[in-house]
Symmetry: C2
Subunit: 339 residues, 2 copies
């Protein structure tokens, strides 16, 4: 890197004192507008950078917000990130984004790095297998605002941003039942994560409410990766009693399920009805189009950004709010149509 | 934020000198392992953070890499970002990610902020309407490595990472012609961006090579947003001569085109064959499945990360490499099948 331009270089070039340069750059009233204009023009010309490090060192603020997400290349997560970035960027903050790649070990490293980087706040959606939460303790101890979204865990003084996954799971399942399904399957992710265990609770609530007996064959825990589609197809084909309705905890796997069941000779929705979760763009594009639960990812990102910024500005203290629940919505399309 | 722990606090707590603390934390050979262990344990317990700001101030290095992308919520972009993040994170760098929201004005602000944040390098994919490039001048002047990918512009001493869009456009078009199409349409984005103008050049090359006359009706410039699908459908319906093959510059719009043409009563691929670009997951899931060009986004991200890290380590100087071209691949699926 070339030599950094200092206020002393500017002072020498312009033939004024370093104090004049400093006051000009800070828009001090004692300096004439003409001098300020000259200084700013020369500073831009030479590529002078405000010494943010030194300034931040005294303020103990970095104007950066750390984010840890399971994966960047997920439609749902990148939608949330787009919302967060828009808000914090407008407020003059930068996002440092890390991905845990669904591993608690990587998540621990991410948290450590971000803590050492003195982020002003941390936003987290948990990895698939995270089972201990000690790596977040330094943030809590040092009062660095910590907000969990989507895949959350309740820790003292941390805010969580979620939808009502249990109710959403109930509504998805109830819809299948109301469309005539009697032998249902829930395909969900790791039950350690609230999003999957809560959707499953909602599934069981609906079965109970409609007096359908829950059996172990009614649930299949999956990593929800499209590569696991064979396992889901096998479960359906080997089922003692013909499964006639499937609630899949994400749209990507649900779309693959539609495509692969059709290849296997099933008629959708005649033989079997399918509902997904998230309302990803693919749900509209698959044939038959996929009924799903609309999960407002972008709005969740915006709200996460706003909550953190407001907290940092001192205008709200989100730690007292604890849990913010966003609205979800049942979207009915072709894959669950009644015959 | 609570009071920051200093080496003096650690020294007081442990009853040793500040110098011993400092040398222990820096793994100095003059300190016994036992003392180092005690210091490190206490530092972790109290939440001591290495004063990265002060350290970086003297090194003039921040261990951060800036990224500006048009949008975070694009499957293609988030795949690239996933690749970049994996590599730079492993190398001990953090990504500060900004989105230009397809606006040159926002891109200028992003560049300014990232320059003032003293990022060690900058990776950019240009906004839809960027027409001047002065906002990158400070990086070039101050020898901050600058790498463009996908949507690139040639600037002195900057590396670019691309695929051969012209050849890929040629191959997509040639495939349609070989499947029997005679009246083709290219639906592309803003011709200011290399990716769209190069694909269009490839489209024209193929027409010329197969002695098909190019007319203005053979091209439609679009923002490639699914909301613009009506415009594309109208262009096809109003065409004087029945269009029988469409090359769309991205998969999302191509998938929407398939879905909407079917609603309009067209048979795909019988009446009209469609090929997209990128090999997004949706291309496999739409019915009929979409032929496309595989664009290795994740690999591009990995290579971008590796190039920047190697450059910063001094092991390669990517500015001399200038342009790196990745391999693309024609993927043939149902939407272009011959009758």
């Amino acid at each position: 890197m070339s030599k950094k331009i200092t206020i002393y270089d500017l002072a020498k070039t312009l033939g004024v004192s370093a104090g004049t340069i400093s006051r000009s750059l800070n828009d001090h009233p004692s300096i004439s507008q003409k001098t300020k204009d000259r200084v700013v023009a020369k500073a831009n010309e030479l590529g002078y950078k405000t010494n943010k490090f030194a300034a931040n060192l005294s303020k103990q603020q970095t104007n950066t917000i750390g984010v840890i997400v399971p994966r960047l290349n997920s439609n749902f997560m990148s939608t949330i990130l787009a919302g967060i970035e828009k808000i914090v960027n407008e407020a003059g903050y930068n996002l440092i984004i890390n991905q845990s790649l669904e591993s608690m070990e990587k998540e621990k490293l991410n948290a450590k790095t971000l803590f050492n980087n003195s982020v002003d706040a941390l936003i987290v959606s948990l990895a698939y297998d995270t089972s201990s939460f000690d790596h977040f303790t330094p943030f809590i101890q040092h009062k660095v605002p910590l907000l969990f979204l989507d895949r959350v865990h309740n820790l003292p003084n941390c805010a969580t941003l979620i939808i009502n996954n249990r109710l959403a799971g109930y509504e998805a399942t109830e819809h299948l039942i109301q469309q005539g399904c009697k032998n249902l399957l829930y395909v969900g992710g790791n039950q350690k994560r609230n999003v999957y265990s809560d959707r499953f609770k909602g599934f069981k609530d609906a079965l109970a409410n409609y007096e359908l007996v829950f059996k172990e064959a009614n649930i299949l825990e999956s990593d929800l990766n499209p590569t696991s589609i064979g396992e889901v197809i096998n479960h359906i084909k080997k089922s003692a009693k013909q499964i006639d309705g499937v609630f899949v905890a994400n749209d990507t796997l649900a779309a693959h399920l539609i495509k692969n069941l059709i290849i296997e000779g099933y008629n959708i929705p005649e033989d079997l009805k399918i509902i997904g979760f998230n309302n990803d763009p693919v749900s509209e594009l698959v044939t038959p189009s996929l009924s799903t639960i609309d999960y407002p990812g972008y709005e969740m990102g915006v709200l996460a950004g706003q909550s953190v910024i407001s907290h940092l500005n001192g205008s709200i203290n989100f730690q007292s709010a604890n849990t913010i629940t966003l609205r979800h919505q049942l979207i009915i399309r072709e894959s669950t149509q009644k015959q």
